[in-house]
Amino acid sequence: MTDTVLLQVRVSASLLRRVDELCAEGLFKNRSDAVNDALRYLVLRYSRTSPEGKLTSLYLGGRLARSGSPSGMIFRSKREVEVEF
C-alpha cells in the first residue's frame, strides 16, 4: 500500500457538500478519494515544463503579478510583412 499521511485542511461547508454529493453519485469512494483526485489534478496543472505553460497556469489561477503593457514592444522585421485583410 502507498505510504499515506493525514492532511488536515479547512474547506468551505458548501464546497464540502458538493464533494459529498459527488461521492454519493458514485464518482468518488469517499472524501479522501475526491481530495486525492483534486490534488493530482493540481500537481499536473502546475507541472508544466515550458515557461509559457507555467505562465499560463499562473495567469489562469489568478496568481500572476500584473504590471505594464506590451504596447511599447515594437519589433522591426528583417523582411517585408504582409497582414491578411
Binding site: 515557461p51 509559457e52 505562465l55 499560463t56 499562473l58 495567469y59 489562469l60 500572476l64 503579478a65 500584473r66 504590471s67 505594464g68 503593457s69 506590451p70 504596447s71 514592444m73 515594437i74 519589433f75 522591426r76 522585421s77 528583417k78 523582411r79 517585408e80 510583412v81 504582409e82 497582414v83 491578411e84 485583410f85
Partner: protein, 146 residues
C-alpha cells in the same frame, strides 16, 4: 470593452508602416491606450506566430509573457471543451454562420466574456457572424470622434 483581433495587434507590434491601414490602426490603439482591452488566446497565439515568423522566437515568447502580465489587457481563455463532441457542438452554431474554424474559436472566446461589446478587426469576413459587433479600427475612430 473592445476585444482586439490579431491583425490589429500584428500591424502594431511589427510596425507595418507600408500597410495602408497602419495609420488608422495606430490612431485607434492610441485612443484606447489606457483602457482595458480583451484579447482572445487564439488571437494572441496568432500574433505570437507572426512575430516568431518575422522576428524570432525570443521576441515572440517575451510578447506572450507581456500580454499575460499586462495591466491593460485581459486574455480570454474560454472553458476548454471536455471532448470532441462538446467542441463540435459549441463551434457548430458559429461555423453554420459561415465562420472558419479560427473565427469560430474566437467567437466562443468572445462569448465567454460578457463585458466584451465589440470585436475590432480589419477582417470583413467576420462581420455579422460574431456574438458581438465587428468593427474596424477606422470605424472605431469615427464613432469616438462624433
Amino acid at each position: 470593452m473592445d476585444a482586439v483581433g490579431s491583425d490589429v495587434l500584428t500591424l502594431h507590434h511589427l510596425a507595418v508602416e507600408s500597410d495602408p491601414r497602419y495609420r488608422d490602426n495606430e490612431l485607434y490603439l492610441q485612443s484606447v491606450k489606457k483602457e482595458v482591452k480583451a484579447v482572445t488566446i487564439y488571437d494572441l497565439l496568432n500574433l505570437i506566430a507572426s512575430v516568431a515568423d518575422a522576428v524570432g522566437e525570443r521576441e515572440a515568447r517575451e510578447l506572450y509573457a507581456a500580454y499575460l502580465r499586462s495591466e491593460e489587457h485581459v486574455v480570454l481563455f474560454p472553458r476548454p471543451p471536455g471532448s470532441w463532441e462538446e467542441l463540435v457542438e459549441e463551434l457548430m452554431p458559429f461555423v453554420l454562420r459561415g465562420l472558419d474554424h479560427n473565427g469560430a474559436l474566437i467567437a466562443l472566446a468572445v462569448a465567454s466574456q460578457q463585458e466584451v461589446s465589440r470585436y475590432v478587426t480589419w477582417r470583413k469576413t467576420y462581420r455579422g457572424k460574431m456574438p458581438v459587433n465587428v468593427v474596424s479600427p477606422k470605424e472605431c475612430l469615427r464613432t469616438t470622434s462624433v
